[in-house]
């Protein structure tokens, strides 16, 4: 067992409404949707099904014309009921009506001892075809991995430090053998190591500690210590020209299931959390599952006063209460919509509103154990960059966030590269956006920078 890597910089946002460890499995969604917008680099999506077609779990429904061997497949069996498009016919959602009994496309089945005889090419072909492949994310850029590339190594973060984050042990309960099988397959793709990072701050279940064939790392400290980008930076940083892959443990389990059972099983457990939820707990659903059933009669306030977020409150996105879960998300957060004026809100002392900072009247630092009920108000207007030195304190990496942001805004390619754009994606600098006095949309800036580098 390796020694513990201590992360000192960062900040935990302690929100009220943590999901209790209870699983509800009778609220399965009636429809699911695949949203091409969940994948950063789908530029020219091509839908290969029509409304009225029936599909099985694992039937291809979509691909990107630039990279047509990565298939995006139906997570469930059923009928395609709608292909939703937005302005300029931008593809938004492909909606599938879920069958009562899920039928699966069948893929080759292996026994555990067989796995080592599976060739890299065969494994890759079945991952690409079945729809599991998009679970593998490539760094730099944080996009779906390019099957042609050979990654230097593969990183898995075994814990999530985001606000109200789900407990991975609970999400993956009973999937140990699939997880191990997934690791065995992943090892074929890289000449380097498969790194698995776990939290040193809490008890970790055996699913991770028992895994063999991985380099196990322990991280302790505040968010973003659970972010795979931060872990990469501390284990084996990405340099120019390097390609590494990252994958969520859920994706590893999917790979294992595909190889051992021969099916694409897109069922997943998600946490429904937040102080606006009556009973925050875990629910069984599918990738892209419709949210309505999970929050129906389960909210403290009417739907129009709350914001439903697919993902966590730092990196997730707003969805309609009748919307669909994002492809990569393992939680739904529900918080209050903060569209209220606040009389003298800029000077009023407050201990209920969380601040990383301690300027006059911001008293939350005196009671850090408190659980906060933050709403979506911006708490101020956008301004020019003024404060310095705070971004660095919440970024446990040797990057200078302010200078990186400014290089991106100036579209200075060389500077972006030199300042480490290859090492970060939005989530790694999300805390900067939270603490920013000047209220910039910094995650958007990071993605703009990545797009500039990637597509130039």
């Amino acid at each position: 067992m390796s020694d513990i890597k201590k992360i000192r910089k960062g900040f935990n946002i302690n929100m009220a409404g943590k999901a209790s460890l209870r699983l509800v499995d009778n609220k399965l969604p009636e429809t699911v949707a695949i949203k091409p917008t969940d994948f950063h680099d789908i530029l020219r999506p091509k839908v290969i099904v029509n409304v009225g077609d029936t599909v099985k779990a694992g039937t291809p429904i979509l691909f990107d014309k630039r990279n047509d061997n990565i298939k995006y497949t139906a997570p469930v069996s059923g009928e395609i009921v709608e292909v939703k498009r937005g302005e300029k016919r931008k593809l938004l959602e492909i909606i599938i009506l879920v069958d009562k009994n899920i039928e699966y496309e069948s893929f080759p089945k292996h026994t555990v001892s067989d796995l080592k005889n599976v060739s890299k090419e065969d494994a890759m072909a079945v991952l690409l075809k079945s729809g599991v492949w998009p679970q593998i994310i490539q760094r730099p850029f944080g996009i779906v991995a390019d099957p042609e590339a050979t990654p230097k190594s593969i990183f898995i973060s075994g814990f999530d430090t985001h606000p109200l984050a789900p407990d991975y042990d609970f999400l993956l309960k009973g999937q140990e053998s699939y997880f191990q099988a997934g690791i065995d397959i992943l090892k074929k793709f890289t000449p380097g190591h498969v790194h698995l990072s776990i939290s040193a701050d809490k008890e970790v279940s055996k699913i991770f500690t028992k895994a063999t064939g991985v380099d196990l790392h322990k991280f302790s400290g505040p968010h973003p210590s659970g972010n795979v980008g931060v872990q990469i930076h501390h284990i084996d940083p990405i340099n120019k020209g390097d390609v590494v892959w990252t994958i969520n443990p859920y994706g590893v389990v999917q790979i294992g299931k595909l190889m051992l059972e021969g099916i694409y099983d897109a069922s997943k457990v998600v946490a429904v959390a937040g102080y606006e939820v009556k009973e925050p707990q875990y629910y069984k659903t599918f990738i892209g599952g419709r949210i309505d059933k999970l929050i129906e009669n389960n909210l403290n306030n009417p739907e129009d006063n709350v914001r439903v977020i697919s993902g966590n409150i730092l990196t997730g996105y707003k969805v309609s209460p009748k919307g669909y879960l994002g492809f990569y998300d393992h939680m739904i957060s529900v918080i209050k919509e903060g569209s209220e004026y606040d009389f003298l809100g800029w000077i009023k002392p407050t201990s209920k509103r969380l601040s990383y900072q301690r300027a006059i009247g911001l008293l939350s630092f005196m009671n850090p154990k408190q659980e906060f009920k933050l709403d979506t108000n911006t708490r101020g207007e956008e301004r020019a960059f003024v404060q310095t030195g705070v971004f660095e304190k919440v970024t446990p990496m040797d990057v200078l966030p302010e200078h990186l942001f400014k290089a991106i805004m100036a579209e200075d390619y060389d500077e972006m590269e030199a300042l480490g754009i290859f090492e970060v994606i939005e989530e790694d600098l999300a805390l900067c956006e939270f603490v920013d006095v000047s209220k910039h949309n910094l995650q958007e800036i990071v993605r703009d920078g990545i797009n500039l580098i990637q597509y130039s």
Binding site: I13, N239, K240, R307, I313, L314, T315, G316, Y317, K318, S333, I335, E337, G338, S339, Y341, F343, L344, G345, W346, I347, L354, S355, Y356, Q357, R358, A359, I360, L362, D375, T376, N377, T378, R379, G380, E381, R383, A384, F385, V386, Q387, T388, G389, D398, L400, E402, H403, A418, L419, E426, A430, E433, F434, V435, V437, S438, K439, L442, Q443, E444
Partner: protein
């Protein structure tokens, strides 16, 4: 507070697009956001919650940190007046006289500066930035109390327009705005901001009866004299012989009952402000500490050379005379014009300290070193940052070849 909200909502339509006063939208908006933090919510992507801090709160924290120095400055203005005229006066008399003289300067600085800010915000159609809240308080505190009010207004307007707005507004300026205002007066109207102008004597400054031996010279001016006059006595001896006994002891200079700019004299009350800034995390303790450290080290260095009497002044005296403490705590820490990197802040502050003492000792014609030192280092801060950033890039490159 509903009626204020209702009133604002009622008026708002006139200022919005298509209203008859739409050109003045940002003026209205600035007032509205002072009364109420806006009802904006986070965008659909990106962080869904935001930290409770905003720029207004950040700036008001600095203003609050300056209040101890301001209040003491008011008292000291009265105190110096009554010492010079030899009249007896109570605490409140001194304070009220001071307030009467200082508040008009504060008001003029705010009105002229905010006037420019609003005007430019309306013309250029952007929100009014809060940076001037701090600048408007800094400018009075670094003026002599006898400064003509029209000069305060002129200097403020000059500094805001030339120092800030031509560069693109708050956050874009290279130089510290308040110091620029003072530097402008120094070079435009030198007679009104140097010499024996530090003490208010009465409405007709020159004709007032002062006590025997009165001199309005500051501690820095006395020390500078020792350089000009060959074969001068040690500076400390000259301090001992001051017209008012005990005026220039270390203790009294630390407490600040000495002539000087309104807010700069009391190191003690400035340190209280420093504690507020550091405890709230708004001012960089690295810069403050390294300015003092730089000045002290340079003072010791001059002690070792000892070529003239000013060089022989014990190093710790440099920390309490002139505007060093004020500059270190409130001016050098301005995040926009200071170094932006953490390593850079150490270097930036230290060089300010060193340069301050160098300018004091080598430039007797113009003894106040901190102003020029900070302005000079403002110009060099981007260069310091450049090298710190280069070091970061180099670490990344070196990693790649390993």
């Amino acid at each position: 507070m509903k009626f204020v909200r209702d009133l604002l909502d009622k008026q708002k339509k006139h200022f919005e697009k298509g209203g008859k006063l739409e050109n003045f939208y940002y003026g209205f908006e600035a007032l509205e956001t002072f009364a109420f933090t806006p009802n904006h919510t986070t965008s659909t992507k990106g962080v869904q919650v935001r930290d409770a801090i905003d720029l207004k709160r950040l700036m008001i924290t600095v203003v609050i940190a300056m209040i101890p120095a301001l209040l003491f400055g008011m008292w000291n203005v009265g105190h110096q007046h009554f010492l010079a005229t030899g009249e007896q006066a109570e605490f409140m008399d001194k304070f009220l006289l001071g307030a009467q003289l200082v508040l008009p300067i504060v008001v003029v600085a705010y009105v002229s500066g905010l006037g420019v800010e609003f005007f430019i915000a309306i013309v250029r159609k952007h929100p009014v930035n809060e940076g001037f809240l701090v600048t408007g308080m800094l400018i009075p505190l670094i003026m002599p109390v006898t400064i003509p009010l029209w000069q305060v207004a002129l200097a403020t307007v000059f500094a805001v327009v030339i120092g800030k707005e031509v560069f693109g507004g708050t956050g874009m300026n290279i130089l510290n705005i308040a110091l620029l205002a003072r530097a402008f007066l120094y070079f435009a109207y030198p007679t009104d901001i140097s010499g024996d102008i530090w003490t208010y004597l009465g409405p007709a400054q020159a004709e007032v009866q002062t006590v025997d031996g009165y001199s309005g010279a500051t501690a820095l001016a006395i020390a500078a004299e020792s350089v000009i006059n060959e074969g001068s006595q040690p500076v400390l001896q000259m301090y001992d012989q001051a017209w008012y006994s005990g005026m220039f002891t270390f203790g009294n200079m630390f407490m600040g009952a000495i002539p000087g700019s309104i807010g700069e004299t009391s190191s003690f009350w400035i340190l209280i402000g420093a504690i507020i800034l550091i405890a709230t995390g708004v001012g960089s303790w690295k810069i403050m500490f390294s300015v003092f450290a730089g000045a002290y080290v340079m003072g010791l260095g001059f002690n070792a050379i000892g070529a003239n009497e000013f060089m022989n002044l014990p190093a710790h005296y440099h920390l309490v005379i002139g505007g060093l403490a004020f500059g270190a705590v409130y001016m050098a820490t301005d995040p926009v014009s200071a170094s932006h990197t953490e390593t850079g802040k150490w270097i930036y502050g230290f060089l300010i300290g060193i340069l301050t003492v160098v300018i004091r000792v080598f430039n007797p014609a113009y003894p106040e070193g901190i102003m020029l030192a900070i302005l000079l280092m403002n110009v060099f801060a981007p260069l310091i940052d450049y090298y710190v950033v280069q070091a970061n890039k180099k670490r990344r490159l070196q990693r790649a070849t390993v």
